[in-house]
């Protein structure tokens, strides 16, 4: 009987929390809402140590925090969310930890495409952003399957950065741009229409005569599928980007609450959005300039 009444209490408290959240969201919605928020999910291992949990449990709790934050973002009307799930640098960790993370990610990726998942509830299209060739085959296959399964969702976007670093992304974009240009020129020359474009060596300062330009590079970025983030939120109080979205963060608001990722909550998102709204018009002008 006690258990029944306490779960009833929890339910009522949960409903009240949800109602309060909806009120706050409707107030926030009177000003511009960020279109794209990115998260660096830092602090899982420290949380694990602090709470004396089993090794690896911190990441599982971190996953629950991620689901909650996704829900809050999509309720708020944020169209795109990007998360830094696994950096190429993280491969430097102990093999057992890397293996356990890979298994967790595979399990959660497979969970994403289930009927009752948050992805289908909110109509979210999922992208896996990074050098997927570095992943083990099962994880890569799960990721590719999830991308195909959610390709027709169009209400929101979730980009999961996995085996990703920004510098690797830029290198990849330049390689692809050069390869594309090289193929184009070879084709033109082969068809006789190139007029020796390969020999073009005019004034290299002119934008049109550069072999590649900024649009070529941006086109080939992994993150070209979404607009630049408006806010990057890093948990755990560390204030650095750790090779995440360096190119895309040129004018973005950076917020680093000192809370560990598993403990992040709706209030942190509210603070970040308020700060974004305070700077909104200033940022807009800067982007145009």
């Amino acid at each position: 009987m006690d258990k029944g009444s306490s779960s009833h209490e929890t339910q009522r408290f949960g409903s009240f929390g949800s109602f309060l959240r909806r009120c706050i969201i409707s107030i926030l919605s009177t000003a511009p809402i960020p279109n794209h928020i990115a998260f660096i999910m830092d602090g899982n291992r420290r949380y694990c140590k602090r709470k004396n949990l089993m090794e690896g449990a911190g990441h599982r709790v971190g996953f629950l925090a991620l689901m909650a934050m996704l829900r809050y973002c999509y309720e708020l009307g944020v169209k795109c969310v990007t998360v830094y799930a696994f950096s190429i640098d993280n491969f430097k960790r102990r093999p057992e930890e890397v293996q356990s993370l890979m298994e967790l990610m595979q399990e959660k990726i497979e969970g994403l495409i289930k009927e009752e998942s948050i992805v289908n509830h909110y109509g979210i299209r999922v992208y896996f952003i990074g050098n997927l060739k570095l992943l083990s085959k099962p994880v890569r296959l799960a990721a590719e399957k999830a991308m195909v399964a959610t390709a027709s969702n169009s209400r929101a976007v979730l980009s999961i950065c996995i085996a990703y670093t920004s510098t690797d992304e830029i290198v990849h974009a330049v390689q692809e741009s050069c390869q594309e240009k090289w193929d184009e020129i070879r084709e033109l020359n082969a068809s006789g229409a190139g007029y020796g474009l390969i020999e073009l060596d005019g004034n290299r300062r002119e934008e049109g005569e550069h072999y590649i330009g900024v649009t070529d590079i941006e086109k080939h970025m992994y993150m070209a599928v979404v607009p630049d983030p408006d806010i990057i939120i890093r948990a755990s109080g560390e204030t650095r980007l750790s090779n995440f979205l360096l190119w895309q963060s040129a004018y973005c608001l950076l917020y680093s609450p000192s809370v560990l990722w598993p403990e992040i909550g709706f209030q942190h998102l509210v603070w970040a959005v308020l700060e974004f709204q305070r700077n909104y018009f200033y940022l807009k002008e800067k982007k145009k300039a």
Binding site: I88, N90, T167, I170, V171, K181, W182, Y211, S242, A250
Partner: protein, 303 residues
């Protein structure tokens, strides 16, 4: 042509007009002159100024004539340790105009105060053994264009370099900058890198374009392109330690504003509320103390 008098309202600018509201409009570039402990005031004429001649008169072997020798590193303030000091500090010097407006002063006073703040930070870096200091002013802030007043820096054996787009500067100034860079290239106490009209995205693009040309010319294959090739082509490659360990931005703005992007991959970011003219030794010590407490893992294991 008569020589200009030493009117403090004449400010060197890209456009050939003074920046301060109370100064008369002129068609010719004029020179901002301020007095330092060691330099003498410089006179310039209203013809196209020949800075290099004035400069050579005042400088011998990279030092202002009559200047003292650089001292050894000072002991560090309380709470700082030499082994946990950043080797390269970058600063976004934001807030000069807001500082002036808050005091009801003309914008030019904000620039002057900003310059004083810069000198303070340069002195502190020299005293505390920081090897590289990169400073960034917004392209709309004209006060940090390399000025004749930078001569004072040579007292402290400082190497000066400029990154960014210097092509829009007057020819005479471009030549002066090249001369300054050449003369100070062997100075070793501190490397001061001044970022003027610098764009982090453009720096990456121009590096990629240089590499793309090498691909086009057949020197490398696309699959040979890697991070270290791009690093070598960035404008910051002039500094031996091209990646800042610590970035400080004043005025409470929580963003990078297209300053360093690639170079900030693992940089500790420190945002401070005070405006740049108010940034002094206590704020710098606070930033360095915070830096000391950061746990830098670079994505790997906890140490």
């Amino acid at each position: 042509m008569p020589a200009l008098s030493l009117h403090p309202s004449y400010v060197f600018s890209l456009r050939s007009e003074p920046l301060l509201p109370d100064a008369p409009s002129r068609l010719l570039p004029s020179v901002f002159i301020f007095f330092t402990r060691t330099s003498r005031p410089l006179r310039v004429s209203t013809r196209e100024p020949d800075f290099t001649e004035e400069y050579r008169n005042g400088v011998v072997n990279g030092r202002v004539a009559g200047a003292g020798t650089p001292g050894r590193e000072d002991p560090l303030p309380e709470g700082l340790r030499r082994e946990s000091m950043p080797r390269h500090v970058a600063v976004i010097m934001d807030g000069n105009r807001r500082w002036a407006r808050a005091r009801g002063m003309p914008v030019g006073s904000g620039y002057e105060a900003g310059l004083r703040s810069l000198r303070r930070v340069v002195e502190l870096c020299c005293r505390w053994g920081i090897r590289v200091l990169t400073v960034f002013a917004f392209s709309s802030d004209n006060w940090v264009r390399p000025k004749v007043g930078f001569l004072f820096l040579f007292v402290r054996d400082i190497r000066v370099s400029l990154i960014g787009d210097s092509t829009k500067l007057p020819k005479a100034l471009q030549e002066l900058i090249e001369s300054v860079e050449e003369t100070t290239k062997n100075n070793s106490r501190l490397h001061l890198v001044v970022a003027v009209s610098y764009s982090g995205q453009y720096d990456i693009v121009q590096a990629c374009q240089s590499i793309a040309l090498k691909v086009k010319d057949g020197h490398i294959e696309p699959e040979d392109i890697n991070e270290s090739l791009i690093e070598k082509e960035l404008q910051t490659n002039i500094a031996r330690l091209s990646h800042p360990d610590l970035l400080i931005r004043t005025s409470g703005e929580l963003r990078l504003s297209n300053f360093f992007l690639w170079q900030l991959a693992y940089t500790e970011l420190f945002f401070v509320e005070s405006h740049w003219p108010d940034f002094g030794e206590p704020d710098f010590i606070e930033a360095l103390r915070c830096f000391r407490q950061r746990h830098r893992r670079y994505g790997g294991q906890d140490p």
